[in-house]
Amino acid sequence: MMTHTDIQSGQAAQASAAPSAMKVSDEIAIEIENMNKWYGTFHVLRDIDLTVRRGERIVICGPSGSGKSTLIRCINALEEHQKGRITVDGTVLSSDLKNIDRIRSEVGMCFQHFNLFPHLTILENCTLAPIWVRKTPKKEAEETAMHFLRKVKIPDQANKYPGQLSGGQQQRVAIARSLCMKPRIMLFDEPTSALDPEMIKEVLDTMIELAEEGMTMLCVTHEMGFARQVANRVIFMDQGQIVEQNEPEAFFNNPKSDRTKLFLSQILGH
């Protein structure tokens, strides 16, 4: 993890200019108001308030068990919240299944363990949702899929099965699979934490490229080099609450709360 931060620290200077250059519009992509969630009696998320504008790139970090995964999984209703309101792309998340399916098709998600479909080829993984959800003709879906596979730099693996690919390649396929749905928002849940160091870079490069194209992104990650380079805002969570949020420079250079300082010293220190 540290090596990677080092690799990118060289680019940090020029990258710090980039976030402001990448336009953030005033339009609101995700709005979370006073959201609470319980697992049984366990209060996982408490009074979460978060507004994400279109084109914004947000990195969420925090200690294990702080509720980061739960938070972003609430945004596409993989988990349901019990109190408060989540508005995605102007649609309020309710228990209406049609609504949920629509929001999910607008919001791409990448998981820690890729979750590719092992019984389908890479190409089929990428064309499945466009064909069945968007009703795209097969030919067109395949062209789109090849376009995104080229973009994540693995077009030559299109006819293999996920089990034949390395972890990094699988994660890039997972990103391409989400992109094939032309999502307006992308969620990442620790996309690199199941990968070897060499593979982390290839996945992060893909994500950086995506950020530079102005995709609205929420990433749970502990790749601080990535956070510095592309994030507009870094959010620190602990015990189900948002403890601190700030622009990356300010967040890393003078964190305000003690818990943030402790966390940063653990993860950046040594």
């Binding site: 999910r104 919001v107 998600m109 998981f111 959800v133």
Partner: protein, 431 residues
């Protein structure tokens, strides 16, 4: 990475040695024999013992099989010919061949009909078993049940044609109405299908003899044909029903879940024989008086219920074995429940369940012989009843039951081989 290596590693091989075959003395049949059969004292003794046992069995079996008689007209004739040598009296198979296959009341002039059905089955089942055949062939497969019914039971062709028309009309009604919800679609489909069937019933009753094959009632079905009918129909019905039950058991709708659990647990807790007796006797009490509810149909319903409960549990195991991430990935792409199940979850769960499903299918096929207990004359029923009871063949046990075993073995072994081939073909996960 690479430049760090070039600094820290002082030697890197640049050209690779060519591949060579393994030394000849370490390959070939002698090596195999030595390694597998005679690798040590104990192993050698076991090998010799097994060989001796094999020879002993063949010593008794081969003369019985090869010296057997195929032409005698009854068991006394057999005994005269053999003079106590103990060879097989296979003449019973030749003489009762048709009875063993078709039962004793199927009209002999019509034997070609079930035979043709069986041949057709072998053809139309191919696109179901082998997915690389063109998909439009499945339409031909879908027509098969109606054709086979007409061929085996006979009667006017209006019966199967109108039955088919009902299914098609119901399907289109479903397609029309399903936009307003699945339940509405299902109801519309059912109503339209029932209406067409009712019309069809009138048509068939008014024209009982147009384009008709000689009608053969269900009680005249028998022999191995009956086992095949029950086996094929029940396996092909219990698989989809089992899938639905397994999904229902996982459902988040409490009523659906509850119904499926009760059904599965009840059926699994009851012996099949009991269900067959229910089909034979008790079911008649529940039906309105005067309804003539076909016995074969009753038996099919019972065996199907029995097998689908088992298949449901096998598939539930497959569903439980899938990582939760697969459900989540399908959900996060916006697939709805039906799509996620059909495209992502079931293909994988069914693949895991293949050995278990085959186990149930093979067991079910053999269990069709249980109908001999409720006095239906399937293959075993024919042997135990009319054939062994006749004065001509009383006492020919080995040949008859050996033949029955062989027929069942061929079919079951075929199913097993197919399933292993399928498993290998579907192995894409490279674990």
């Amino acid at each position: 990475m690479s430049d760090t290596h070039s600094e820290s590693i002082s030697f890197v091989r640049e050209s690779f040695l060519p591949e060579v075959p393994p030394p000849a003395a370490e390959a070939g049949p002698v090596k195999w024999l030595r390694a597998n059969l005679f690798s040590g004292a104990v192993n050698s003794v076991m090998t010799l013992l097994a060989l001796a046992l094999l020879i002993y069995i063949l010593w008794g079996f081969l003369p019985w099989l090869l010296g057997g008689n195929w032409t005698a007209s009854n068991i006394r004739e057999c005994r005269e010919i053999f003079q106590g040598s103990g060879a097989g009296c296979f003449a019973v198979l030749t003489e009762r061949w048709n009875q063993l296959l078709f039962g004793f009341s199927y009209p002999p002039s019509e034997y070609w009909r079930p035979t043709l059905s069986l041949l057709l089955l072998a053809v139309v089942i191919a696109p179901v078993l082998f997915s690389h055949l063109p998909r439009w062939l499945l339409i031909v497969t879908a027509l098969y049940p109606f054709t086979a019914y007409w061929l085996i039971w006979g009667g006017t062709i209006f019966t199967p044609v109108m039955a088919l028309a009902g299914v098609i009309a119901g399907y289109f009604a479903y397609r029309r109405a399903v936009e307003r919800g699945f339940a509405v679609g299902l109801l519309a489909g059912l109503v339209v299908a029932l209406f067409v069937w009712w019309l069809g019933g009138l048509a068939a009753a008014s024209e009982p003899d147009s384009l008709a094959l000689e009608r053969v009632p269900s009680r005249d079905m028998g022999g191995f044909m009956l086992n095949m009918i029950l086996g094929v129909v029940c396996v092909s019905l219990s698989l989809p029903i089992g899938i639905l039950l397994a999904l229902g058991r996982q459902s988040s709708l409490p009523i659906v879940k509850w119904i499926c659990v009760v059904f599965i647990e009840f059926i699994r807790g009851v012996p099949l024989i009991t269900l067959l007796f229910v089909a034979n006797v008790v079911l008649a009490y529940f039906l309105p008086p005067g309804t003539n509810f076909d016995l074969i149909l009753r038996v099919i319903i019972m065996i199907t219920m029995f097998a689908s409960a088992y298949i449901a549990e096998v598939i539930r195991g497959g569903l439980a074995a899938l990582p939760r991430g697969q459900y989540e990935a399908a959900d996060s792409l916006g697939l709805d429940y039906a799509q996620a199940m059909r495209l992502i979850i079931l293909p994988q769960a069914l693949k895991i369940s293949i050995p278990g499903i085959v186990n149930v299918a093979v067991g079910l096929f053999k269990d069709t012989t249980l109908v001999s207990i409720i006095s239906m004359f399937d293959l075993v029923g024919m042997i135990r009843g009319p054939i062994l009871a006749s004065t001509d063949w009383n006492g020919v046990y080995w040949e008859l039951f050996g033949f029955a075993a062989l027929l069942f073995f061929v079919v079951c072994y075929g199913i097993s081989q197919y399933s292993q081939w399928l498993e290998r073909k579907l192995a894409t996960d490279h674990r």
